[in-house]
């Protein structure tokens, strides 16, 4: 005992000053860099709280933007537009995404599997604004600006995220569970629908929530698809507004009132997104 302690002490004392200093210095730099990484998040959130909280009154949630230069408007048009487009996008994102995930996880030997896996990865990397151009060409050119075109672009962006998380959670379901179902005489599709999917439901919901949180903040693909609308519009075939669109317009506007609404809108959006992704991650961690 004594000797080993003595050896330790000797070792530590024997650490040359240069090595010790380098170690301390690098540790300090790493701590500093971490602070630099985290700082913008805190700075942005505090800034938006300070600037936007005051504007979050009843009018903010119940009125539409006032005419340029006047005060006292709200973002009801953007809130309803965002909710509607996200709901429509989810239909595409969930249907195609979950089916894609099932296909990749449950039919790994299918000859189309590598193609679909690869293209799903490719879609994940395509810039959102390019998806906006695609949706423009597919829908807007023929039918004009509409909430539906915006939802289509957002839905396309959701697909790869849902595919990936669905595939991953399905693969976590033990093979024995599937075998047990098949051994009972259930056909494979019933095993997937009644046994495997329910077991993975929590993880799939998490994936969908993460995908929603991701596309809820996208304005770029909406610029020339949903286009924006100053009044509340519930008709998917007409132009529609969205929170990120109003934030973009407001932040680049010269009018104080529009800037104020943009900051409040940013606070609302960022809060919703943080809550969604925190809930999603908490749910996935518990499993």
């Amino acid at each position: 005992m004594r000797t080993s302690a003595a050896v330790t002490v000797q070792r530590r004392a024997g650490l040359s000053p240069a090595r010790r200093m380098r170690n301390t210095l690098m540790g300090a730099l790493i701590l500093l860099a971490t602070l630099v990484v985290v700082a913008p998040l805190i700075l942005i959130f505090v800034y938006l709280l300070r600037e936007g909280l005051g504007a979050m009154n009843l009018a903010f949630f119940t009125r539409t933007p006032a005419p340029e230069g006047e005060s006292g408007g709200g973002l009801l048009n953007a809130i309803t537009g965002s909710l509607m487009m996200l709901a429509m996008a989810s239909v595409i994102g969930v249907l195609v995404g979950v089916a894609g995930g099932i296909f990749l996880a449950e039919y790994p030997r299918h000859r189309l599997m590598p193609t679909i896996r690869m293209l799903s990865d490719v879609l994940a990397g395509i810039p959102a604004i390019v998806m906006g151009l695609v949706a423009y060409g597919l829908i807007v050119l023929a039918f004009g600006f509409s909430g539906l075109a915006g939802a289509l672009a957002l839905g396309f962006l959701m697909i790869p995220i849902v595919v990936r998380t669905t595939e991953e959670v399905l693969k976590l379901v033990p093979l024995t569970v599937r075998e047990a179902g098949l051994a009972l005489g259930l056909p494979q599709w019933l095993v997937i629908l009644r046994v495997v999917l329910p077991a993975a439901a929590g993880g799939i919901v998490t994936g969908v929530m993460l995908a929603l949180a991701r596309v809820a903040g996208e304005a770029a693909p909406l610029l020339f698809t949903a286009f924006g609308n100053n009044s509340v519009n519930l008709d998917p075939s007409k132009p529609m507004s969205a929170l990120p669109l109003e934030i973009y317009r407001g932040a680049t506007s010269a009018y104080d009132e529009n800037q104020r609404l943009a900051k409040a809108g940013a606070l609302l959006l960022i809060t919703l997104i943080f809550l969604t992704s925190l809930l999603a991650r908490r749910a996935s961690r518990r499993r």
């Binding site: 913008p40 990397g125 056909p187």
Partner: protein, 334 residues
């Protein structure tokens, strides 16, 4: 005895029929992924065809982008995209790796989890919100600093000389760092905001890879009396290098296509590489700023051609990243 023996085959035949239907249904839905890809390529190619026909490869080497005269060359936007992305990447990688090391190696558990959370949330902040913050908070700070530079009489000779150079479309190393009076908006601000935006992607990949480094590699070095930094620099980082590189390339893909935050702060000018503080443009920022207003068919087509370029660039970058990650991740971990 013969009754039950006959039943299972009948049942099996039935289930294989319904299995087939289900598989076809799933495949049909999953094929929408293929459809989206094919439609994207078709759509972008068809709409950018007139511009590509008119300009050919010159589209990428021509520097003039002039809607009035109908001449469209994407050279300055391609350079702007690459410069902003690569510089932002170069700044963000050491920061991201350091924060990953902090979370994985230094921080106690009670601190590591919240910090990890915060870095993940950084990835969840929408592009427009970054843009708004850069525009309202960072730009005025840079702008004040630029004004101070212009007000100082000692800088007058330099400003005069650089203005002459810039007017001739030239620059020098010194003039590159001299403010050009854009009120804070410009290349530098775009790089700053891009750096912040791509940090979390590299950081989270780096953290995951660092966690995969086998414990005995660390322990062996600690047992030899190595300091923490020596363990990190000689055991952990070399082992995790390949995975980190994959994360870096994924982040590059993000940076290339990042749109609104950059479009809001970059100042939308073709004066790329004239001054670090002056306006510039990227392919994505030009799409965002011009597609809605593009009246002439050729202008519109040229903007879509930028989208097509961006599309192929992101496909290539993604492939490279996945190739590196797949080839270099130790087998069995995935």
């Amino acid at each position: 005895m013969s009754e039950p023996a006959r039943r299972p085959p009948a049942r099996a035949a039935l289930s294989s029929g319904s299995d087939r239907v289900f598989q076809v249904l799933i495949l049909a839905l999953a094929s929408v992924i293929v459809l989206v890809f094919v439609l994207s390529v078709y759509q972008l190619t068809r709409e950018s065809w007139p511009a590509l026909q008119a300009f050919g490869w010159r589209f990428f080497s021509e520097r003039t982008w002039n809607p009035v005269e109908g001449v469209f060359g994407a050279a300055s936007m391609v350079v702007g995209t690459l410069v902003t992305s690569v510089v932002a990447l170069a700044i963000s990688v050491p920061l991201a790796v350091a924060s990953a090391l902090f979370v994985a190696e230094y921080a106690p558990k009670w601190l590591a989890n919240p910090v990890g959370y915060l870095i993940e949330l950084l990835a969840a902040v929408p592009s427009v919100v970054y843009g708004l913050w850069a525009l309202f908070v960072i730009a005025p700070i840079l702008g004040r600093w630029q004004t101070a530079y212009f007000v100082d009489p000692a800088n007058l000779p330099t400003i005069t000389r650089c203005n002459e150079l810039w007017a001739q479309g030239q620059t020098s190393l010194q003039c590159f760092f001299v403010p050009s009076g854009a009120g804070g908006r410009g290349l530098a601000l775009a790089i700053i905001i891009l750096t912040v935006m791509i940090l979390p992607y590299t950081a989270s990949v780096a953290r995951d890879v660092i966690r995969l480094v086998p414990a005995d590699q660390r322990e062996a070095m600690y047992a030899l009396g190595a300091t923490k930094w020596e363990v990190i620099s000689r055991a952990i980082l070399p082992y995790a290098r390949a995975g980190i590189l994959g994360g870096v390339i994924l982040a590059l893909g993000r940076a290339l296509g990042e749109t609104l935050a950059v479009a809001m702060v970059i100042g939308d000018s073709q004066d790329i590489l004239k001054s670090l503080w002056g306006g510039a443009s990227t392919m994505a920022s030009v799409i965002a700023n011009q597609f809605g207003d593009a009246q002439a068919a050729l202008h519109r087509s040229s903007v879509v051609a930028l989208g097509l370029t961006l599309f192929f660039l992101s496909v290539v970058v993604n492939f490279a990243a996945r190739l590196i990650i797949a080839r270099l991740t130790p087998k069995g971990i995935q």
